[in-house]
């Protein structure tokens, strides 16, 4: 099957696939960032058990293969009477993995904030929560735009796990399997999806770089 024929027959599937990838990426990334902030707050909190829990979270989800985690969530959780729809399973998987890496990014961002600034904030009379809110989190966010841009791309690529479960509509990678079980698209069927990922990643990097230039903290 040639390119025109592939696109003529399955163009709509590819388009739906791209949109599905985009929407899962966007939803996942929002939760990734929220969870990454919460996990990071736990990791720097003055409460030792909370710190331990945060570390454990990162160690577990940074080191588990995505497919294994998806299988656990999609096929093992129902044994505990937790049944999520397929799309949610994929998103939860991506969020758990992504937030572990996101928290690592934040930790390195926090480490660039001098201890002196924290001491100054304490000596002004700010409480732990106020210091997090006004000093630590804003600086951690602003110094980690580029790594978070990379994370967003990684999150997008991880949504390809969706090809392992019966999604409807399918995302970009799932579309390829769909096409190749019906026609002999071969490598070309992959390339079309790959182009969708690559162009999106370019757009993400471009925007990420622009944001970084705007918010970067002068030192």
């Amino acid at each position: 099957m040639g390119l025109t024929e592939l696109l003529g027959t399955y163009g709509q599937n590819y388009l739906d696939g791209l949109l599905a990838t985009w929407s899962m990426t966007a939803v996942s990334f929002i939760f990734v960032m929220v969870l990454a902030v919460l996990v990071t707050v736990a990791r720097v909190s003055p409460v030792a058990p909370l710190r331990g829990l945060g570390e454990l979270y990162v160690q577990v989800f940074r080191n588990i293969p995505g497919v294994a985690l998806l299988i656990l969530i999609a096929y093992a959780l129902p044994q505990l009477r937790v049944v999520l729809d397929w799309r949610t399973c994929v998103i939860v998987t991506v969020v758990l993995l992504g937030s572990a890496f996101g928290s690592e990014n934040f930790m390195s961002g926090i480490n660039t904030i001098g201890v002196g600034q924290i001491e100054a904030a304490r000596s002004v009379g700010l409480t732990f929560t106020q210091i997090l809110r006004h000093i630590v989190i804003p600086q951690a966010l602003r110094t980690t735009v580029l790594p978070m841009t990379n994370l967003l791309i990684a999150v997008m690529l991880t949504t390809a796990l969706g090809s392992q479960v019966p999604l409807s509509p399918q995302e970009l990678t799932g579309v390829v399997s769909y096409v190749n079980t019906r026609a002999t698209g071969g490598i070309l069927a992959f390339l079309i999806s790959a182009l969708g990922y690559v162009l999106t990643a370019f757009a993400i990097s471009f925007v990420g770089n622009r944001i970084d230039k705007r918010v970067r903290i002068l030192r």
């Binding site: 904030i113 001098g114 002196g116 600034q117 001491e119 100054a120 904030a121 304490r122 000596s123 002004v124 009379g125 700010l126 409480t127 106020q130 006004h134 000093i135 804003p138 600086q139 602003r142 903290i217 002068l218 030192r219």
Partner: protein
């Protein structure tokens, strides 16, 4: 209210009683007792490693102590949490490295405390902040971020940030040690003004001319102990201990 009654009773603003502190095997503060009266300017000098910075930092509990007592206007320094935060808000602290918040404008640096801790409105906080920034001579830098200012300007802004909390006392932990020589005086001038205005101050410094000119009392520390204390004239012209004489000799010509 409490301020008035404390003043009437002549309670020292800061009082340390038999304070001891170790860093592992190192005994950094040895049985240090000290009082600072209202309006007094106390200058702490001594060789590096003598514990003078640590002493300064224990007063608002940036460093904890092993034993002894620290009283602020007769009240013991709270352990942790909100009470401690409130007490810290009443004591200004100026650091060697300025420690301005890097992501905020100078104006926001100064208004953050008053707005968050004292609950002032934006307008009120900014009006007073501008007044203070003008007073220390960096009013025109209010909308810049710290990295755009020279060290001397940053340190003066940091002083304004502390003053914005209307503190009962100000601590200075080697405020000019990180500055290029030509910027030292602009910072010292601000401190002289403050002292003349009646601010209670504890100043850890190597600036002997400042000590001589401004201090009501000089405390000389060595090896974690207060070795000698007295008026600047007494101390600089007639040091009583050999340690102090050695120290003064070693810095002569600087």
């Amino acid at each position: 209210m409490s301020q008035d009654s404390a003043a009437e009773k002549n309670v020292p603003v800061i009082e340390l009683r038999h304070v001891d502190k170790h860093y592992g095997d190192l005994h950094v503060l040895r049985d240090v007792s000290l009082t600072v009266a209202r309006g007094e300017v106390l200058v702490v000098i001594g060789p590096s490693g003598s514990g003078k910075s640590t002493l300064c930092r224990t007063i608002n509990r940036l460093e904890t102590i092993d034993s002894g007592e620290i009283l602020i206007e007769g009240e013991p320094l709270p352990q942790e949490g909100r009470e401690l935060a409130r007490m810290r808000a009443e004591l200004g602290m100026v650091f060697q490295q300025f420690n301005l918040f890097a992501h905020m404008t100078i104006l926001d640096n100064v208004t953050l405390g008053p707005r968050e801790v004292l609950g002032q409105g934006k307008e009120e906080a900014e009006r007073y902040a501008m007044e203070l920034l003008e007073r220390v001579g960096v009013g025109e830098q209010a909308h810049k971020v710290p990295a755009q200012l020279s060290g001397g300007q940053q340190q003066r802004a940091a002083i304004a940030r502390s003053l914005a909390m209307r503190p009962k006392a100000m601590m200075f932990d080697e405020p000019t040690s990180a500055l290029d020589p030509e910027m030292i005086n602009e910072v010292l001038d601000v401190m002289v003004e403050l002292a003349r205005g009646g601010m209670t101050m504890v100043v850890v410094t190597h600036e002997m001319s400042f000590a001589r000119r401004v201090a009501d009392r000089v405390v000389f520390m060595a090896d974690g102990q207060i070795v000698e204390e007295g008026s600047p004239d007494e101390f600089f012209d007639h040091p009583r201990t050999q340690r102090a004489r050695d120290f003064l000799d070693s810095i002569k010509g600087h």
